[in-house]
Amino acid sequence: MKYTPVIGLEIHVELKTKSKMFCGCSADYFGQKPNTHTCPVCLGLPGALPVPNQQAIDWCVMIGMALNCEIPLFSKFDRKNYFYPDLAKGYQISQYDQPFCLKGSIKLSNGKTIGITRVHMEEDTAKLMHEGKDSLVDFNRSGVPLVEIVTEPDFDNAADVKEYLQKLQQIVRYLNVANADMEKGDMRLEPNISLRKEDEKYLPKYKVEVKNINSFRFVEKTIEYEITRQTEILDSGKLPAQETRGWDEKKQITYSQRTKEEANEYRYFPEPDIPPLRWNKSSIRQLAKQMPELPDAKLKRFQKEYDLPIYDAEILTREKSMADYFEECVKVSTLQPKSIANYIINKKINIEEVLPAMLVKQIIQSTQTATVDDESLGKIIDEVISENQKAVEDFKNGKETVIMFLVGQVMKKSKQKLDANIVKTLLIKKLNSYG
């Protein structure tokens, strides 16, 4: 039987605000001594109260706007109640039915549109560490701002998922609101995967959620593994279980973690400690104004404004710092943008080390060529041709790439930096005239 994968994604991105979501503690917990970034609020001590971080809310809304979401004028926080030792208060402050951002979309390079269901704000949990018989809790991460981005089940293959994730990572980095570093856990992925018969339209009756995936590569492998696994189950006439599975990096398989009930019992209700949030249109416009040019727009502009092929433009706009660097180089020089692009891409310039003005200087030096009169150049070429009969033979037999070898030989012999194009033209002319 042929099946079509139905895949949706839940992504968590930690924001890089200075302080946590609901208290003044530093949100920079990575590599810190356990339980040093804590206070009554993020420890959930009796009587402590959360006060929302406006910066985090603004950034969450910016992510929503970058994903073409609607920003409702009314929003609120809710409590998601459940027990877990990493949850200081016995509930997580999250958003339930009225999140900050709704109904967005993102376009993939193949033209496919992926729907964004919602983007909401919540707080991260503490971190559990298991040492032998002991389980330890580090509350440094407790209360770090976390944005959850949920897509519609619009994906049907792993490659699209990967592209979407790269795009999302690129966007939050462009916005400068998150590091989105997978290894550090700044960005966490949970795909929901199921299969439907190819000729059917409706959503499958089950859903498999996979957790613990810490790289884009593994998300592809997970999806492919699940497609195979679920196909086998369906082919045998059974229905895969509705469950949460984990990705086992060593064995390269998924394994069952827990079977979910039909609906989670989180007993959501409006967080009474935080008044609802009301936006007005002008404050949203103000936020939109603060947003930098986003990757897609920049890519298009680079192609148009600097007359670059999509290949170059894509490499240069992959990271905002690179794009800015390129534009700075263009600004401080009279060189063709394309030659700057070539140099940056081919020489793999470390933009941290070489200042734009310095780079421009380098490019100019590298392209400065000595002028040799045609006569003496012709002489050198004749010599090279006679000394490299094998290559000449190859060229005549249609192996045109040897021309660059011969150009190199001419350069070597002349002991000067010559304009390669001029040498090449002359060479071809001579080769052809030799008949």
Partner: protein, 470 residues
């Protein structure tokens, strides 16, 4: 008169004129606690050494001309306020050994003003109750008659104050927890507008209803304390940044022309005849001072208890989730029966499939109740009502019937649901010499108005000057 019997204003004057020292004043309170706490069970924790050390320091400061508003004045707090290095239990065994590492905003403000903490007072565990019979540390007895309850949940607070163990008290009111025990013990108790006083550091019962307020020996003291503890707090997102008026300045205004509304629904079936007669007398006093009586109606009164007992347990079921047996040293089985009951009610009301029928509906009714009050205040300036439908009841009288116990709050919970302020103050005694109180309710942030009316009434009647025979 013994020093421990003084009000804040009297104590302040005595300290200023060097009639006595803060150490003497503090010792007088500690002595009274020593004499009577065993029997009344008003205090759960007594900070004798700390209080005396603080009093000594206060005396030095007084000598040096420090004029901090509460310098050298001893007080006590309901045991729901987080007090750094002082055990804080919320009346529950779950927190039997909990010593907080930080201060509640209200406590910090009082400390900054120079006040001296004598100790922490008993209450129904987590604020769940109207008689302190739900305290895991035993019931508090009523100083007026030790067979009777002191009211609750801030029963330890009002019993401590009525028996002059302390100069003033800070309570907490979620559904009547300041006003009911105030009326049962013949003290003044102010339930403030939601957001007027910071909740930061007060152990949450029901977050959208909890309010922090003073319990005092006079209306003047309540007004004075409110000036100190009220105001916006950057640590409490629900606190109001609105300016804090000088409440004491408005007390002496005359109340001629003040329109007092008497909602018929507060005077109907179930109201004890003695309470009604006492309130009628109070109304006469107020009209003789120039107030006008107008008809008023709060049609949603009948839904008050039902609404409250959905919303409060729902929030409490979530607020108590953090006591999961991993931290604080005690298992969830250490929760008392009433806490377990409310956790179960709340968990049920919030569950998928029941949320719309219970919690959501209750929130809709709550809006209706709010609107009823807004409408009522178009025709009157303050509303007067009894605090409790009956005088204090006997210890054990209602413990077998939780529903009867819940009905004690019938006149108080509405005020929390509406978020408006209400001042409870003594207005007489039953023929058994048990206290009867009334409440003056005002629109949001009208504390100045109800304190003014209460002060005028107090000056005319002096009920607050009566002392129990211990």
């Amino acid at each position: 008169m013994n020093l421990n019997q003084l009000t804040i204003s009297e104590a302040k004057e005595g300290l200023k004129e060097k009639k006595f020292s803060s150490v003497e004043l503090t010792k007088a309170c500690l002595l009274q606690i020593e004499k009577h706490n065993k029997e009344l069970n008003a205090f759960l924790t007594i900070c004798k050494d700390k209080a005396l050390a603080a009093a000594k320091k206060a005396d030095e400061k007084l000598k040096n001309g420090d004029t901090s508003p509460l310098l050298g004045i001893p007080f006590s707090m309901k045991d729901v306020y987080s007090t750094k290095n002082v055990r804080t239990t919320a009346g529950s065994k779950v927190l039997d050994n909990y010593i907080p590492p930080y201060n509640a905003t209200v406590y910090q403000k009082l400390v900054n003003a120079g006040a001296i903490l004598l100790g922490k007072t008993n209450c129904d565990a987590w604020g769940h109750g109207g008689s302190t019979e739900n305290s895991d540390f035993g019931v508090t007895k009523n100083p007026w008659n030790k067979d009777y309850v002191a009211g609750g949940s801030s029963g330890g607070s009002t019993a401590a104050l009525a028996s002059d163990m302390t100069i003033f008290e800070i309570g907490e009111d979620t559904g009547g927890s300041i006003r009911l025990p105030a009326s049962f013990c013949s003290t003044v108790g102010l339930k403030v507008t939601y957001g007027r006083v910071s909740r930061y550091g007060a152990i949450a019962y029901a977050s959208s209803l909890d309010t922090m307020g003073p319990i005092t020996k006079s209306v003047e003291d309540a007004a004075y304390l409110l000036e100190i503890i009220a105001g916006g707090d950057e640590k409490d997102a629900t606190s109001s940044p609105r300016n804090v008026p000088l409440y004491t300045k408005h007390l002496t205004n005359n109340i001629r022309g003040l329109r007092i509304g008497l909602p018929k629904e507060f005077f109907g079936k179930g109201l004890d005849i003695e309470v009604k007669q006492t309130i009628d007398e109070a109304i006469k006093t107020l009209t003789s001072q120039g107030a006008e009586i107008v008809d008023a109606s709060i049609p949603s009164v009948e839904y008050g208890i039902a609404t409250y007992y959905i919303i409060a347990p729902s929030e409490t079921s979530s607020n108590l989730a953090r006591y999961d047996g991993i931290r604080y040293g005690n298992k969830r089985s250490s929760f008392g029966d009433e806490a377990k009951r409310r956790i179960m009610i709340g968990t049920y009301a919030l569950s998928a499939g029941y949320y719309d029928a219970y919690y959501k509906k209750a929130m809709q009714v709550r809006t209706m109740i709010k609107n009823d009050f807004t409408k009522a205040f178009e025709k009157c300036d303050v509303i007067l009502s009894p605090v409790s439908p009956t005088p204090p009841f006997k210890i054990g009288e209602k413990t077998d019937d939780p529903l009867q116990m819940y009905l004690v709050d019938i006149y108080t919970v509405l005020i929390n649901l509406a978020g408006v302020p209400s001042l409870a103050l003594p207005c007489g005694f039953s023929k058994n010499n048990l206290p009867i109180g009334m409440q003056l309710i005002g629109p949001q942030f009208s504390e100045d108005k109800i304190l003014n009316a209460g002060y005028q009434f107090e000056q005319a009647t002096k009920w607050h000057k009566q002392k129990p025979n211990l």
